[in-house]
């Protein structure tokens, strides 16, 4: 699962991640210095 600290979808992705953990799955999570579609400092 990929998201960025400035991704507007981060809260829902973390919710999905927590639900997968609760369901006994082993998701991989990566959160980078990104927005939804680009870098934090890019347009």
């Amino acid at each position: 699962m990929f998201s960025g600290w400035h991704d507007f979808m981060l809260p829902s992705l973390v919710r999905d991640y927590n639900n997968l953990i609760k369901a006994g799955k082993k998701p991989f999570l990566t959160i980078g210095p990104w927005t939804h579609i680009g870098g934090a400092s890019a347009e």
Partner: protein, 173 residues
């Protein structure tokens, strides 16, 4: 780094491997400017900290004394702009911007800590609890945490937006 992560992911699935990283969580710590591998998110070492809005416009970990409410007037003909943050569309500027002009507006309240004597890492869920009253049926509340850099620049860290109706008694944003 992003492409590197995607290649690792593709290799995992294309080659039918079963391990992506040694540890399941890889996060970039902004400010420290480094990648960190963790066994869970939020990190196991996380402990919740409460910071309170103080009547004198400061922010600290002490329970505030009783005080009159802070207030502001919102003018729909001069709407509060959004500066940086996650809720942006492409082409509206970078996620981290200087918020000083926004913070100088009369429809924005700010609460600022003393200069931090050492680095403070915030990793994990961030929530704001507000006790509010509005003269309008619908009101939007926007809370933004910024990092005030030594020369005074106030740069976005994270934010949340919540629309409230009068009928909403309690809401978590």
């Amino acid at each position: 780094m992003r492409f590197q992560e995607e290649i690792i992911w593709l290799r995992l699935h294309a080659l039918n491997g079963n391990i992506l990283h040694e540890t399941p969580v890889r996060i970039y710590v902004m400010g420290a400017e480094e990648w960190r591998d963790l066994s869970s998110f939020p990190p196991e070492s996380m402990h919740l900290q409460r910071w309170y809005l103080q009547p004198d416009g400061t922010l600290n970990s002490k329970l505030p004394p009783a005080s009159k409410p802070d207030h502001y007037q919102y003018d729909p003909s001069d709407p509060t702009p959004s500066v940086g943050g996650a809720g942006r569309f492409p082409g509206t500027g970078p996620a981290r911007q200087d918020n000083r002009l926004l913070e100088a507006r009369l429809d924005v309240l700010t609460f600022t800590t003393k200069e931090l004597s050492r680095d403070l890492e915030i990793i994990g869920p961030v929530e704001a609890e507000l006790y509010i009253q509005s003269s309008q049926e619908y009101t939007d509340f926007f809370v933004c945490i910024t990092d005030v850099e030594p020369p005074g620049k106030s740069m976005n860290v994270c934010d949340g937006l919540q629309r409230l109706k009068h009928s909403h008694r309690k809401m978590n944003a």
